[in-house]
Symmetry: C2
Subunit: 224 residues, 2 copies
Amino acid sequence: MAISGQKQGNSGPDKPVQDRLLDAAEQLFAENGFDGASVRDIASAAGCNIAAVNYYFGGKDKLYTEVWRRQLVQMRDARLQAIEQVLSESNGKPSLEDLLKSFANAFIGPFVDESRSRWLMRLMAREMIDQHVHVNVFVEEVIKPTMSAMGGALMKACPGLEESKIPLLIFFLAGQLIHIVHIKAMYEQTEMAEMPAFDLTDAVENIVKFSAAGIRAYAEEKTE
Amino acid sequence: MAISGQKQGNSGPDKPVQDRLLDAAEQLFAENGFDGASVRDIASAAGCNIAAVNYYFGGKDKLYTEVWRRQLVQMRDARLQAIEQVLSESNGKPSLEDLLKSFANAFIGPFVDESRSRWLMRLMAREMIDQHVHVNVFVEEVIKPTMSAMGGALMKACPGLEESKIPLLIFFLAGQLIHIVHIKAMYEQTEMAEMPAFDLTDAVENIVKFSAAGIRAYAEEKTE
DNA sequence: AGTTGTTTCATACGACAGTTTAAAACATGT
DNA sequence: ACATGTTTTAAACTGTCGTATGAAACAACT
């Protein structure tokens, strides 16, 4: 069993087998769920033999964990980078709207980017329920860093904010963002007659406006 | 195959087989997912033979659909009733906070009520992803009636609201509510050290405050 | 050329899934 | 008591799943 020393083509359809497996698994797991995606389908989509997943990853579970971990770090980095960028561009004193908008776009970015993986949301939503990989790694690798960075940035954008309420406020923001991605997916799968069309970027703008007002309701508290 | 004419004991452990199957299936589907819950387990939990699910429901899929439909109507009724009650108690002019609070409690009520079914959220979250029963019935039976009733009530509580934004605002509210239920579930499954304890009723109160401010940001628009 | 270590392949294995079947048990009306 | 229709049961059927195996193909180095 060899792990290192690959050719690392990194482009084109002749990537190393591990990468092809990870890519195929990411898509199929997200589309059909952990149980719904068979090892045979994954191997077939990756253009290799069934035994490859056991040979390289030691089993279906390990492959899934690896797929998941790959998404986690990228998700966290995108969010952290978006926050840092807003902070640096505003010399440490960003407007609340700018911060929210940048965070929101980084948050839902992976879910709408068709070129990379628009199945990520389903993959993540499944994981929130099925818990194949322990919750702790998600908390430690994504939630905690994100909450910490975003909380700090919020304090700078809204100096009057009560610190103890900040995690809750971020939860509210994240909840709205996740939900509109779900709604968007629902719109794509059914003909919602008599209901208005759904535009994601428009929804994000409104979340920014909505949440900015909600957050300010907590910032103005201290001044009264 | 007989469907009608049961004893309808309606209490105690000697309910008709169909009901026992539905109850057991509801719990096991929610706990382990559609694939994770085997017909054998369900029948065993219901205290009857494996063939009963095919005999009475015509297959695992049909049983699942029936479980789901049973939850849908009850969910919708709880929400509609909460809205109507607030409207009647305030003679048609409810305060925004009262309306939001009542709706929020009706919304998350089924998810926290341990006596009835605290697995409902997982069941519903799964369904949002896996789509075993067509989305249309969910849209028609729950979303549309809820949006219609809540939208009308919102207009009465906030006369200045722009009507076209109302669906979006309700989505935001629902997104926050669903998310805190998820967060609550995460807290219960891991030891979130260094993170504050999570109280659902407290979170709901804050959602009311947060969303009331957010909604008013759209109500005061017309007056400017 | 030959040896060695790695990767691919077709195939087989055991387990468990949902469903079907046919007989037994039961209830009901005559 | 009998006949009739309904429900329950145990066992078998068919298919698919994840994994294991051992041989073939390949690459690299002596």
